[in-house]
């Protein structure tokens, strides 16, 4: 259990999501914890076509960040 009140996560955004939120890499304060979805509040993304990885493992919009994680949020785009 962590006692600190200002927990941080490293967030990496790819593709259009980075453009919408205005950054590609950032360390963010998440207070006591945060759902991934809240990171994307207010921006127009297609939830079905978003990939979320937390510490390299598949996660989703409802996953909860508790501090210390490396989160990557990327669109299902490709050289498809």
């Amino acid at each position: 259990m962590r006692s600190t009140e200002t927990r941080k996560v490293c967030v990496k955004l790819l593709g259009y999501i980075a453009e919408m939120l205005g950054f590609r890499n950032r360390e963010l304060n998440i207070g006591k914890g945060l759902r991934v979805r809240e990171l994307l509040k207010g921006v127009n993304v297609d939830e079905k076509r978003i990939i979320v990885l937390i510490n390299g493992k598949p996660a989703n919009m409802d996953s909860i960040l508790r501090g210390g994680e490396y989160v990557v949020i990327m669109p299902v785009v490709g050289g498809g």
Partner: protein, 610 residues
């Protein structure tokens, strides 16, 4: 028939004769168009064992029921033949005004047999077909050829052509259009070259008759609007497929040093943001509002269109981290009419062979000058190493020996496109079972796999590969329309049966479309088996040993490899789901279920069916 023109143009180059075939409507219902028509014709008309570069090979260009209609990204066609690179079925699609013109000229396809003894090109204007002298075009780059031909015939024509690589019978020469649109990776350009056919110029001035033109127009307009509203539309227009460099790097699937690694230290120098800094123009295929052709200025001050596959294979995979130099290699490949993915593989293979002292030439990783020289050695087959690599890495590995086949990155003889699969079993299966050899166009499952988890080898993954093969390799390759609105922007699949209904007047359910796709896959498989006879076996569906034996040495997935036993388990599930036996051969029951019972007798001459 509506939607389809119902006609093929048949051309015999040996006799310089042509005829028009009105085909049966049942063909359209069973095979839809594009790839479906191509394999049906090749199965029915190509004698088994035909030498791919002989006049007897058949080269087909096929459009589908949506080609050239005012619906999203419909300006595509399929080119197919027996492949000189793989000796199996080969095809590819490309976006070109020629696709639209072909249909406006009143044809769904062109079937070309025989060979000319002198260079020729075809000029098609509706009913009129001419064989014109191409002596002065022979030897010209694809860019110059098109320029010359549009000076002669006007700007309002569609042109398909080959470059020197096709003329010189490089086995992965492809067919080109509009400075950078290319298709037919498994040597369709060499087949065209072997027929001494330099180009096809098409002018079509007719309406393509459809069942409900007003409805089609309305749906098309709605569709284009819908695409524009997708959240990543603007960003797609900025970077197109180039955004994938960063994506692949992040996921450790960016091919690096001949697929040894999945991360490249200079990835940020060759990605979408780097491209935006040197971009000068944007263009695309007909009837497309996503126009993903990003044109940049290269290190020699010339213009070239970049996309992900090209940049990864001519960049990270050969250890080159300078985008302007990669652009030079990309442009040369386009001008010479050689496939960028295969030539990138060939150069990477040579660099590794040089490092391992299997070649006397010194070709170091990332050496741009050496890569450029090598590319031209290959195109012009001007020395031993050029001749060796012009036949593909499978052939080169057979000649070099020393287990180099383990790192000759190909399946069925076709070089692998730009996704490293050390830690992506479903994507590896997709490359393994792609019906033309390793290519991403059929089941590009990597994004989905990253989403559900990379570690596992499950039935669910196999089912997903098949689902994607049905949609991408089946439906889109037959329509023929570009799959990118769907896969890149999320333009819903439900649009397509609606477009089809308005175009043809016929209802197609997804069940029916997928059955058509399965029929096509099974017939393509039968074609391979017929060509390979006793040499066919499940090892044909297994990617190279590197991914199984040599772990990644860097990055976040350091130490990962594929597991051969588990891969084989997935392959068995794949066969089972397709109704194929343990050898990967369709069973009698599967053939009957798909309405292919008429090929049983012929297949049984070669192999006992279960």
């Amino acid at each position: 028939m509506k939607g389809w023109t119902g006609r093929f143009l048949r051309v015999n180059l040996s006799e310089q004769s042509t005829s028009v075939q009105e085909y049966e409507p049942s063909l359209a219902r069973a095979f839809l168009g594009g790839r479906g028509f191509a394999i049906k014709i090749l199965w029915d008309e190509l004698r088994a064992g035909t030498a791919p570069l002989s006049p007897e090979n058949i080269l087909v260009f096929m459009a589908g029921p949506l080609t050239g209609l005012p619906v999203p990204s419909s300006g595509k066609l399929v080119v197919a033949a027996k492949s000189p690179l793989t000796s199996g079925y080969g095809d590819g699609n490309l976006g070109s005004r020629a696709a639209v013109m072909l249909r406006r000229a009143g044809y769904d396809g062109i079937i070309i047999k025989g060979a000319s003894d002198k260079p020729v090109y075809l000029y098609i204007e509706n009913e009129k077909v001419e064989f014109l002298n191409a002596d002065d075009l022979w030897g010209m780059s694809t860019f110059d050829t098109e320029k010359k031909l549009s000076e002669t015939h006007g700007k309002d024509v569609g042109i398909l052509c080959i470059g020197p690589a096709g003329e010189n019978l490089v086995l992965y020469a492809n067919v080109h259009s509009q400075e950078g649109r290319a298709g037919g990776r498994p040597g369709m350009g060499a087949v065209m070259g072997s027929k001494k056919l330099k180009a096809i110029v098409i002018r079509g001035t007719r309406e393509i008759e459809t069942a409900n033109p007003e409805e089609l127009k309305r749906l098309g307009e709605e569709g284009y609007e819908e695409i524009k509203k997708k959240p990543n539309y603007d960003f797609w227009r900025r970077q197109g497929t180039m955004a994938t460099v960063e994506w692949s790097q992040e996921n450790s699937v960016l091919p690096t040093f001949n697929f040894r690694e999945g991360e490249f230290e200079n990835a940020d120098k060759i990605g979408g943001y780097a491209m935006e800094k040197i971009k000068v123009l944007q263009r695309g295929c007909p009837y497309c509002n996503m126009i993903c052709g990003n044109v940049v200025e290269d290190a020699e001050g010339k213009r070239v269109e970049l996309d992900y596959e090209n940049v990864a294979m001519l960049g990270s995979d050969i250890g080159l981290g300078d985008l302007k130099k990669i652009s030079v290699l990309n442009r040369l490949a386009d001008e010479y009419g050689i496939d960028t993915i295969s030539v990138g593989n060939a150069i990477g293979f040579a660099m590794e062979a040089s490092e391992k002292k299997l070649l006397k030439e010194k070709i170091e990783w990332g050496d741009f000058d050496a890569a450029k020289t090598l590319l031209e050695d290959i195109v012009f087959k001007r020395n031993d190493i050029g001749r060796l690599l012009a036949n593909g890495v499978k052939y080169a590995a057979e000649k070099l020996g020393n287990n180099s086949k383990d790192w000759a990155m190909q399946v069925k003889g076709l070089e692998i496109s730009a996704y490293d699969c050390h830690f992506a079993p479903a994507m590896a299966l997709s490359f393994g079972t792609s019906p033309i050899g390793a290519h991403h166009k059929d089941a590009w499952v990597i994004a989905w796999e990253v989403q559900v988890g990379r570690e596992s080898y499950t039935r669910e993954k196999v089912a997903k590969v098949i689902e994607l093969q049905r949609i991408r390799g089946g439906v889109f390759e037959c329509l023929t329309a570009c799959r990118l609105p769907w896969i890149e922007l999320g333009f819903e699949l439900d649009w397509y049966p609606k477009f089809l209904k308005a175009a043809t007047g016929m209802e197609f359910t997804f069940d029916e479309l997928y059955r058509i796709a399965d029929r096509i896959y099974t017939l393509i498989r039968a074609f391979w088996i017929r060509e390979f006879r006793g040499r066919w076996g499940r090892e044909m569906d297994i990617p190279p040993a590197r991914w199984f034996k040599e772990p990644l040495t860097k990055g976040r997935y350091k130490g990962k490899t594929l597991d051969l036993e588990k891969y084989n388990q997935m392959l068995s599930w794949y066969y089972e789901m397709r109704g194929w036996d343990e050898r990967g051969v369709p069973t009698k029951k599967a053939l009957k279920d798909l309405g292919l019972e008429n090929i049983i007798t012929e297949l049984e001459k070669i192999i006992t069916l279960k």
